[in-house]
Amino acid sequence: MKKQQRLVMRTTILLVLLAAIVYTIYTNFFTEKTAVAVGSTAPDFVLADLEGNEHRLSDYRGKGVFLNFWGTWCKPCEREMPYMNELYPIYKKQGVEILAVNVGEPELNVKKFAERFGLEFPIVIDRQDQVLNAYNVGPLPTTFLIDKNGEVKQIITGTMTKDDIQRHLESIKP
């Protein structure tokens, strides 16, 4: 009888310890370091594009949003821009928007960059790093895939091939 009790006791203590370890490892390594986790609602924001039009994320409800954080000096960002530009008109028709958030560079530089690559999709500038903070973006480029309900489906850091981008755009079609 006592033996039974002890087994229950030991099992309980071991389970509690195991739970603590699993929780610690999980929160440290399997959740995103970004403030925005996969599966959570993407924080709303409002930023102006190069023409002065304001873009509010919540206005895109019902559409998929390919949210790309970038800088003009960042070579990997530069490499994926033409692919994004190519795919933009195709997927816009299918209800997926591309929105590129520049990390607070001078408007002149962003404008020249957009002109150089003939970028069609809206580019907004996060002058005060507010959106950058809200999304806790570290390395560039970082892309958030947001579905029609405003939920973050995937977070991609690092450069993407054209196939990658196409696959990602496909995944958030409404």
Partner: protein
């Protein structure tokens, strides 16, 4: 379940080395003269049952050998982590794989490939720490419960076999046993012993609580580990860096957009001869005038955002307070603390140029370019105009030899200007960098002459919010209490028994045998009772080499 009944009638759990009550050895000790008193000879359960998987896991973690192995592995790993800098301390804009290889050769490459560059945050390092925690809990439980039981149940009357197997043991003939016992009892009580008497036998004990010291210490460690674990719970711990230039208002990272900070001024002061107290003169002479830092300070204004938080939208701000942040004097608000940790002096903010005729030196007006938000076109009147074609805040030539920028910070600004004049309606292109001008399309008539640089200072602040600090503090305090409890008190016991008309004395302590012997000497002085002999030392002197005695 097997149990062992001693001849004194006490029933002991299986695996007990000597009876909990009377101390009679229950296992055959052979020729070994001394009892191992560690854990009072109690049965460590994990050692006796190894049936189910749970019991086996329990047994594994309850082993001190396993615990020590885990600690040694962690120590070695921690030491390796200090050979080369951790990744967080290498320049942020380099590829770590390249950096380690370049700086430290093949050793650096190996270091990076084995993941030592992020050692203290790696899953296996955290797992090791967690396993030490598990080992602590189970080791403690497995020992403290039987030990508590054994000490609680110990009888006053002990079996002669127990007494004669103690390290300090002596037999005396005294004329009046009753009187001697009474004197000893009185003296023991005077020395703050807790004396129990049973059938004419004495057990004097003091400092038993010292035995709990290591376990209190472990509880402190476990609380400390729980505190460290809670740091990964969202909202419990924030540690962010914020760079803020003079004159700017920025969101404070980690506050979810609720607080903003404006930097009014960054102040860097040094000790100067003549201005400061004379006592500093010698030090100033040694290091150099204006070389010793006296103060790093950022004068800030704290704002709270009112209304809904929508990142990117122009915030409505309400002033909370003004504060000079100095080293070790953080700005504290809403459990946040902003610390002065770093600075950059004289960071370029704007650059001025004069449009000038290269030959005559005549100038036609000044262009001031804001390095954070340059305009595209600058009209100087009378037909003179300058256009900014390209701007590189942190200029370099990229891999293909094209001018490009390394970052968005104007560390090394460079510009491509197009200058229009009445006599040059098509314009002339000039590439202007610091101490460098290139005219890509041949000789120009006009040039952009450098006319001044506006700079400002930038403060580096750390934003910290830590709700785990008090838990870590509590763990630390309990750790110290346990340490003191176990270190500065000794658990001493003295048994005095009358056996066959003789007076038997045995004594045991968990540490400081020297002190116990002194105490015994004083106790027995003038009573006619012989001082017990230290049998461990006797053995040593006899050159047989004694078995080390337990001191837990």
């Amino acid at each position: 379940m097997e149990q062992v009944k001693c001849e004194c009638g006490h029933v002991n759990p299986h695996g007990t080395a000597f009876c909990e009550s009377c101390g009679k050895p229950l296992v055959d000790l052979g020729e070994r003269p001394l009892l191992d008193m560690r854990y009072e000879g109690s049965a460590r359960r994990s050692q006796t049952y190894k049936k189910t998987i749970i019991d086996q896991i329990w047994a594994f973690f309850s082993s001190v050998k396993v615990g020590v192995a885990l600690i040694v592995i962690t120590l070695v790993a921690s030491a390796i982590g200090t050979i080369f800098p951790q990744q967080m301390y290498i320049p942020p804009n380099v590829d770590p794989a390249e950096y380690y290889k370049q700086q430290y050769g093949w050793a650096g490459k190996l270091y990076y490939e084995l993941g030592f560059n992020n050692l203290y945050g790696s899953w296996w390092y955290i797992l090791l720490i967690a396993l030490i925690g598990v080992s602590l809990v189970i080791c403690s439980l497995d020992r403290v419960i039987p030990l508590y039981r054994a000490l609680k149940r110990q009888g006053v009357k002990r079996h002669p076999h127990f007494l004669e197997r103690q390290r300090l043991f002596g037999v005396s003939h005294v004329s009046d046993l009753d009187k001697t016992m009474a004197v000893l009892k009185e003296r023991l009580a005077a020395r703050r012993y807790h004396v129990r008497e049973e059938g004419g036998h004495l057990l004097a004990e003091k400092g038993r609580f010292s035995r709990w010291g290591p376990y209190v210490n472990h509880i402190g460690l476990i609380i400390f580990l729980i505190g460290a674990m809670l740091r990964s719970v969202p909202g419990m711990y924030t540690d962010r860096v914020m760079w803020i230039p003079e004159g700017e208002t920025k969101e404070i990272p980690g506050t979810n957009g609720r607080y903003f900070l404006k930097s009014e001024k960054f102040i860097f002061e040094t000790y100067e001869k003549g201005k400061d107290n004379e006592v500093f003169n010698a030090a100033i002479d040694r290091v150099g005038n204006g070389m010793i830092a006296k103060n790093y300070q950022t004068n800030v204004v704290l704002y709270k955002r009112v209304g809904p938080v929508i990142p990117g939208a122009k915030p409505k701000l309400e002033k909370v307070k003004e504060y000079p942040i100095r080293v070790n004097e953080p700005l504290k608000f809403d459990h946040y603390a902003l610390y002065q940790v770093d600075f950059r002096l004289n960071e370029p903010k704007a650059m001025s140029f004069q449009l000038a005729d290269k030959q005559s030196g005549k100038t036609f007006g000044t262009v001031t370019v804001d390095l954070y938000d340059p305009k595209e076109s600058y009209n100087l009147g009378h037909g003179y105009r300058v256009e900014l074609l390209s701007y590189f805040p942190d200029f370099e030539f990229d891999e293909d030899g094209n001018p490009s920028t390394k970052s968005r910070v104007p560390n090394n600004p460079a510009f491509v200007f197009k200058m229009y004049a009445p006599d040059r309606p098509k314009g002339e292109v000039s590439f202007v960098a610091i101490r460098q001008t290139i005219e890509p399309f041949g000789d120009n008539k006009y040039k952009m002459a450098f006319a001044g640089l506006q700079t400002r200072n930038v403060s580096g602040l750390t934003v910290r919010r830590d709700f785990t600090l008090w838990i870590l503090g509590l763990g630390g305090v309990i750790f110290m209490i346990g340490l003191i409890q176990g270190m500065y008190w000794n658990h001493r016991r003295i048994w005095v028994q009358r056996i066959n008309g003789e007076l038997w004395i045995a004594a045991h302590t968990n540490k400081n045998w020297f002190g116990l012997k002194n105490e015994l000497r004083r106790l027995l002085d003038g009573t006619g009772v012989a001082m017990p002999t230290d049998r461990l030392e006797e053995e040593k002197q006899a050159g047989q080499g004694g078995q080390a005695h337990g001191t837990a």
